[in-house]
């Protein structure tokens, strides 16, 4: 087999010494689905980021075509690539803006929950004791609860607290959505990080650092977190998808971002298409669905590749 030598390197059999990061990178490259997903997702993100150039109309701008009288519910054509919606807006441009908003919601929620969850999980794993018990019980209860129910109940409670709505906006705002998903997202991150820290803290290098008089903060920042980069990246990818899908689910049941603000999101596009499709306007559902699926599939495959790359024991087949 000609690939034998690169395969050997990929599983760490090479005689040349490589850093764990480089090894992980090489293992990631052997996961074909993940590599393809990175390219597809990068292309989509680039396309969306360039929406001032790539979009053909504004988010609420109507398509006016001189040759045809009406501009509502037009099937895909040269004038409107993905067709137009019930009030004559270009679906292609709206999908671009929707993906942009959904990506912002997904990435912002995932970053916030990662930051919060990593700190809480690291402290809980390192210190143990009462703090650890409380954190684990709270996350136990929330994770066992039906996710959507917990989300809806908490949404109502925080929506009533004056200073929270003053900081993150009212229930229908995008900032409130990010806040809501971050409030939930940190828990699974904290559990992953705690497990990682529990296994790391008994290692010699942490003991050595402690013997040299390093403080807890230093041990967390310099030793535990950098060594947890793999699980953190996996959590981040899961968090992005989780927030995007949650936003779409909430919108579908009418508890998503307020459509009155003028911005749109994938969730709003998907929920808006629910009744239109029954009337035969399939393009209103197809393109938002396709965008949503491309994002969730790509991020799932990237997450799988990252897991294999950083934890060669699981998956990958060579177990």
């Amino acid at each position: 087999m000609p690939e034998q030598s690169s395969l050997d390197q990929a599983v760490g059999l090479s005689t040349e010494s490589l850093s764990p990061g480089r090894l992980a990178y090489r293992r990631f490259l052997t996961h074909r689905g993940a590599v393809v997903s990175v390219f597809v997702l990068a292309l989509l993100v680039l396309w969306v980021l360039l929406s001032p150039v790539t979009a053909r109309y504004g988010v609420n701008e109507q398509v006016f075509d001189i040759s045809q009288g009406a501009n509502q519910n037009l099937p895909p054509s040269r004038i409107a690539w993905f067709g137009t919606d019930i009030i004559g807006r270009d679906v292609y441009s709206r999908v671009l803006y929707g993906v942009r908003v959904s990506l912002v919601i997904g990435i912002a929620s995932a970053v916030f929950s990662l930051a919060l969850g990593a700190v809480v999980g690291a402290i809980a794993g390192l210190k143990g004791g009462l703090f650890d018990d409380i954190v684990m019980r709270v996350t136990d209860i929330f994770l066992a609860f039906p996710f959507l129910v917990a989300l809806l109940v908490i949404r109502n409670v925080f929506g009533k607290v004056g200073w929270i709505t003053w900081v993150v906006g009212t229930q229908g705002s995008l900032r409130f959505m990010v806040f809501l998903f971050a409030i939930f997202g940190w828990m699974s991150v904290a559990r992953v990080l705690r497990a990682q820290v529990l296994s790391l803290k008994e290692r010699e290098f942490v003991e050595a650092a402690r013997a040299l008089g390093a403080s807890n903060t230093r041990i967390i920042m310099k030793h535990l977190l950098p060594n947890s980069i793999g699980p953190m990246l996996v959590s981040l990818s899961l968090g992005v998808v989780g927030a995007i899908v949650s936003e779409a689910t909430l919108s579908l049941f009418g508890y998503g971002p307020d459509p009155g603000t003028g911005a749109t999101s994938l969730g709003l596009l998907v929920s808006g298409s629910k009744s239109a499709v029954r009337a035969g306007y399939w393009w209103l559902a197809l393109y938002p669905f396709a965008a949503l699926l491309i994002i969730t599939l790509c991020v799932s495959f990237i997450g799988d590749g990252l897991r294999d790359a950083f934890d060669p024991k699981h998956g990958g087949g060579r177990a």
Partner: protein, 327 residues
């Protein structure tokens, strides 16, 4: 073993009481039950409102929350449940029907998931890294990545809307358990209505179980005692069935217990999409109306099932795996 189970069981009731109290506070803060009662029943008399407050224990003030919770709890335990604010329905009867519908849907879907998922997981794990492994693993990833509402909408479109357009009739109905106006029990109609929701839920559960089983079996297959069993000269078949599968099933069993616990809560998204009158839809409607007398008993059922099945999962795990030390 029995002592461990009993010691854990003693904590059941306090846990349920504490969590329901927290939920009670959260629901009162979040939905303002008195305001939503007034909103739903506009011309209601002062006397009725006072009755409603007393029946649900909605007293104000910090102490009122504690007093109110216990007065509500007493009414709940003695089955003296207040009626729903919308349409003044008997909550017990509605909740019972919803629970039965959800269990029927959830248990069928779980069985499909457990059977097919585990079989696929074993199938994949026996040849790690080969074509069948890649196919099963990637399809499971795809199955997990497709949100349930997407698969629900696509199935509805295909089997109802477009089937109607192409062939003149809908292959599967898209909502409810029975056609509107239907009376009595009819197994065929019921299964026909359940088919699409079961498919949507099964996609997810097959994906979950196949991945879980694959990882678990791979773990076992790489352990030292597998080598020992083989070197003793036991037949490959016996090694796989008696040594590998039995051990690989331990974590899968606990997952199945947790799953059944979650089924009680209904499959909210699927039920919402198919207008299936189960627990999930019950909650969505109650939440939409701000119906405190409907939401509280629902929460108690959910919390109870989650806590009880968590306990059962732990006990099953300890019972099946003799290596677990009971702390």
């Amino acid at each position: 073993m029995l002592r461990y189970a009993l010691r854990r069981a003693v904590w059941l009731i306090p846990t349920i009481v504490l969590v329901t109290f927290l939920v009670y506070v959260a629901l009162r803060l979040g939905t303002d039950p008195v305001a939503s009662y007034r909103r739903t029943n506009i011309r209601v008399s002062k006397k009725k409102i006072d009755q409603y407050i007393a029946a649900n224990g909605l007293y104000t003030g910090a102490f009122g929350y504690i007093r109110g919770y216990f007065s509500w709890l007493w009414g709940f335990v003695t089955l003296d449940w207040p009626r729903s604010i919308k349409g003044s329905r008997d909550v017990f009867a509605t909740l019972k029907d919803a629970l039965a519908n959800s269990l029927r849907l959830g248990i069928i879907a779980s069985l499909v998931g457990i059977l097919l998922g585990n079989m696929l997981g074993v199938f994949a794990a026996l040849r790690p890294g080969r074509l069948r492994d890649t196919v099963v693993n990637s399809s499971a990833l795809v199955g997990l990545a497709v949100p349930p509402f997407v698969s629900a909408l696509l199935l509805q479109l295909l089997f109802a809307v477009y089937w109607q357009k192409w062939f003149g009739y809908a292959l599967f109905p898209v909502s409810g358990v029975y056609p509107p106006g239907h009376q009595g029990f009819n197994l065929f109609l019921m299964l026909k209505h359940m088919f699409l929701p079961v498919v949507v839920v099964s996609i997810q559960s097959i994906a979950v179980y196949s991945r879980y089983m694959r990882a678990s079996l791979l773990d076992v297959l790489n352990s030292e005692y597998m080598r020992t069993a083989r070197s003793k000269g036991i037949s490959e078949r016996r090694v796989l069935v008696h040594h590998a599968l039995r051990n690989a099933l331990i974590p899968v069993t606990t997952l199945a217990f947790l799953d059944v616990g979650a089924v009680v809560g209904g499959l909210i998204i699927t039920e919402g999409m198919f207008e299936y009158p189960g627990m999930g839809r019950f909650f969505l409607i109650a939440y939409g109306n701000g119906d405190f007398p409907e939401m509280m008993p629902w929460m108690v059922v959910i919390i109870g099932s989650v806590v009880v099945f968590n306990l059962l999962a732990d006990i099953a795990y300890a019972k099946l795996d003799p290596r677990i030390r009971l702390a």
